[in-house]
C-alpha cells in the first residue's frame, strides 16, 4: 500500500496553481472510514499514463470539494473533513496486462455524512454521479456500490408500504404475487384496455399493470383509462372474493399533473399507483411521501435504467439504483427475472433482490455486494420479475427469486391460446402447485417440469401454456456479471 502524498506544509499546499489530487489530500491510504461515512465504490478506467491512485484521488476530489486548481478559500473551511478520501485501490480481476481490456481499478472513497443533505437522493447523487462522470482524467467510470450509514438511512422514509404491510392489505401470504402488463402496450382504447384487465384478474392474477409508456395519449386519455380499469378491478374482485389491483401509471409532464392523477386513483379506490424511474429522484420521493400519507402502494417501473447500468465499464450498477430506491421509498421495483428476456446474471440478480428485501446484507463479492449494509429497519421493497417469463419456468422462478416477488406474465397470460382468463388460470395453478411442492420439501427445481405436467393433467389451461411455450428460453450472455467467482477451499 502506498503512502499518503498529501502536502502537509500549508505554504506548498495552498500555493496558487495546479497540483496533483493525490497531493491535495484526496488520497489517504491509511484512512479508516467512520461508521457514519458514506462509502462509494467506483470502477475506474484511467486514461493511459494516469496512475490509478491519482485517478481515484481525482474522482474523490471532483465528487466532493475539489476544483481543477488550488483555491485559497479552502482555508476558510474545515476542508480536511469535507474532502472525500480515496483510501483503497484494487486492480479489477481479469483486466489490464495479459487481457484484451484496459486496466480497471476498484476505488473505495469515503465521504463525511455532512457533505449530504438529509433525506435527499437528489443531493446525494448530484455529488456522487455528478460532474465526475465526465471527468477527462478517467476514460470510463462506473459506480458499483455504496455503503449507506445507518445515521443517513434514518433520514429517509423508506418504502411507503413495504412487503409486510402490502401483503396484509392484500390478504395474500405465502406465495409470490402474480401480475401481467396489459398488451399491446400502446393503442388500446380505455374500454378495450379494461377488458384485458378484467379477464386477467378474474382468471386469477393479483395485479395488472400499465406499461411504462402508457400515460395520456390520443388513443386513451388517463381519466378514461382509470375509470375503465377500476370497473374491471372491482368486478374481478367481486367475481373472486380477492383483493385485486391495477398499477395506474401516474407519470406525467409535471408534478402537479402527477398528484392530480394520484388523487383521482385514490378517489376511485385503487390500492396501487405506478411511476417511472425517468420522472427523477425528487419526483419519486415526492410520490413516496404522498403514497405513505394516502395508504397507497407505490410501484416503480425502471424505465431508462439500462442506458447507464448495463455496460460494465461506465455508468452505474443497478444495485445502487436498488439502494437509492429503497431509500427514496418505492414499494415495488423491476429487478430482473434471471430466466426471461431481459439482462440478468443469477448472482447479480440475487444481489439486487437481497438489497431490496433483506434487513441487512453482508458483503458478498460473488453477488456483487461490496459492503456490509444494515438497512436500519427501512421497509422491504417487493421486487418485480417481468419480461419473457411463462408458467413453464415456475420452478426456476421460485428457486431464483423466492417468495416475496411479483411474477409478471404479460405475454404469458394475454397470449394464451385459450384466452386471457385461461392464461391467468394456468399461471396461478402453476404457482400454487410449485409452492405446495416446495413446502412439502420436494426437490422442486429438479422435478419442476414433472410437477407442472402432473398438474396440467387436471388443468387444461396449464397444459396449453406448457405446450405453447415449451421451448422458449432466452439464453444470451449477460453483460453485467460478477468480477469475483467463489473459489472452492481445499479441504484436507
Amino acid at each position: 500500500m502506498s503512502k499518503s502524498e498529501t502536502l502537509t506544509n500549508s505554504k506548498e499546499r495552498y500555493a496558487a496553481g495546479v497540483i496533483p489530487y493525490k497531493k491535495m489530500g484526496y488520497w489517504e491510504p491509511s484512512y479508516e472510514p467512520k461508521d457514519t461515512d458514506i462509502i462509494a465504490l467506483f470502477r475506474i478506467t484511467p486514461q493511459k499514463g494516469v496512475d490509478p491512485e491519482e485517478a481515484a484521488a481525482a474522482v474523490a476530489g471532483e465528487s466532493s470539494t475539489a476544483t481543477w486548481t488550488v483555491v485559497w478559500t479552502d482555508r476558510l473551511t474545515a476542508c480536511e473533513l469535507y474532502r472525500a478520501k480515496a483510501y483503497r485501490v484494487d486492480p479489477v480481476p481479469n483486466t489490464g496486462e495479459g487481457t484484451d481490456m484496459d486496466a480497471q481499478y476498484f476505488a473505495y472513497i469515503a465521504y463525511d455524512i455532512d457533505l449530504f443533505e438529509p433525506g435527499s437522493i437528489a443531493n446525494l447523487t448530484a455529488s456522487i454521479i455528478g460532474n465526475v462522470f465526465g471527468f477527462k482524467a478517467v476514460k470510463a467510470l462506473r459506480l458499483e456500490d455504496m455503503r449507506m450509514p445507518v445515521a443517513y438511512l434514518k433520514t429517509f422514509q423508506g418504502p411507503a408500504t413495504g412487503v409486510v404491510v402490502e401483503r396484509e392489505r392484500l390478504d395474500k401470504f405465502g406465495r409470490p404475487l402474480l401480475g401481467a402488463t396489459t398488451k399491446p402496450k400502446l393503442g388500446l382504447s380505455g374500454r378495450n384496455y379494461g377488458r384485458v384487465v378484467y379477464e386477467a384478474l378474474k382468471g386469477g392474477l393479483d395485479f395488472v399493470k400499465d406499461d411504462e409508456n402508457i400515460n395520456s395519449q390520443p388513443f386513451m386519455h388517463w381519466r378514461d383509462r382509470f375509470l375503465y380499469v377500476m370497473e374491471a378491478v372491482n368486478k374481478a374482485s367481486a367475481a373472486t372474493g380477492e383483493v385485486k389491483g391495477h398499477y395506474l401509471n401516474i407519470t406525467a409532464g409535471t408534478m402537479d399533473e402527477m398528484i392530480e392523477r394520484a388523487e383521482f386513483a385514490k378517489s376511485l379506490g385503487s390500492v396501487i399507483i405506478m411511476i417511472d424511474l425517468v420522472i427523477g429522484y425528487t419526483a419519486i420521493q415526492t410520490m413516496a411521501k404522498w403514497a405513505r400519507n394516502n395508504d397507497m402502494i407505490l410501484h416503480l417501473h425502471r424505465a431508462g435504467n439500462s442506458t447507464y447500468s448495463r455496460q460494465k465499464n461506465h455508468g452505474m450498477n443497478f444495485r445502487v439504483i436498488c439502494k437509492w430506491m429503497r431509500m427514496a421509498g418505492v414499494d415495488h421495483i423491476h429487478a430482473g427475472t434471471v430466466v426471461g428476456k431481459l439482462e440478468g446474471d443469477p448472482r447479480m440478480i440475487k444481489g439486487f433482490y437481497d438489497t431490496l428485501r433483506e434487513p441487512d446484507t453482508p458483503m458478498s463479492l460473488e453477488n456483487g455486494l461490496f459492503f456490509n449494509q444494515d438497512w436500519a429497519s427501512l421497509n422491504k421493497v417487493m421486487p418485480v420479475a417481468s419480461g419473457g417469463i411463462h408458467a413453464g419456468q415456475m420452478h426456476q422462478l421460485i428457486h431464483y427469486l423466492g417468495e416475496d416477488v411479483v411474477l409478471q406474465f404479460g405475454g404469458g397470460t394475454i397470449g394464451h391460446p385459450q384466452g386471457i382468463q385461461q392464461g391467468a388460470v394456468a399461471n396461478r395453478v402453476a404457482l400454487e402447485t410449485m409452492i405446495q411442492a416446495r413446502n412439502e420439501g420436494r426437490d422442486y427445481l429438479k422435478e419442476g417440469p414433472e410437477i407442472l405436467q402432473k398438474a396440467a393433467k387436471w388443468c387444461s389451461p396449464l397444459q396449453a401454456a406448457l405446450d405453447t411455450w415449451k421451448d422458449i428460453t432466452f439464453n444470451y450472455e449477460s453483460t453485467d456479471t460478477a468480477d469475483f467467482v467463489p473459489t472452492e477451499t481445499a479441504s484436507a
Binding site: D171, F173, G174, G241, V243, Q421, R428, G441
Partner: protein, 145 residues
Amino acid sequence: MMTNHGNRITQGQFSFLPDLTDDQITLQIKYALQNGWAVNVEYTDDPHPRNTYWEMFGMPMFDLKDPAGILMEINECRKTFPNYYVRVTAFDSTRGWETPRMSFIVNRPEKEPGYRLIREERDGRCMGYTIVAYSTDRPEGERYS
C-alpha cells in the same frame, strides 16, 4: 353461483388446487413448524375480501410442535363449523416480519354464492364500488345453513 375458475372464492395460497387432503395439510403444517411459525385456525361466515379478523378457533398454537396434534385442531374446527370457511395461517414472530407467512383455506360452505357488486354513481362518470357477500344479507350464524 360464482363464475370464476373453480366457482369459488380464491383467497389463500392454495384455492386453485384440488382441496388438500389431510396428508397434504400435514405436510404444509410441517413446513410452518420447520420455519418456527405458529399455526392458527380461524373460521368465518363473512368472506368479504377485507374481512381481516376471522374468528379464532382457540389461540395460535405457539407451543404445539406436533403436526398430528395441529391437524386434530383443524379437524375439530371443521367438525364444529362444517358449513363455514376455515383457514389455516402460520404466524412468523421474527423481527422484520411479525405477520402471517402462510394462509390457506381448508374448509368451505357447500354452496358459495359469491358477491354482489354495488355501483354508486357519482359525479361525472366516477363510480363508488362496494362488494357485498350475498351470504352476509343474513345474520351471523345463519348464513350458510
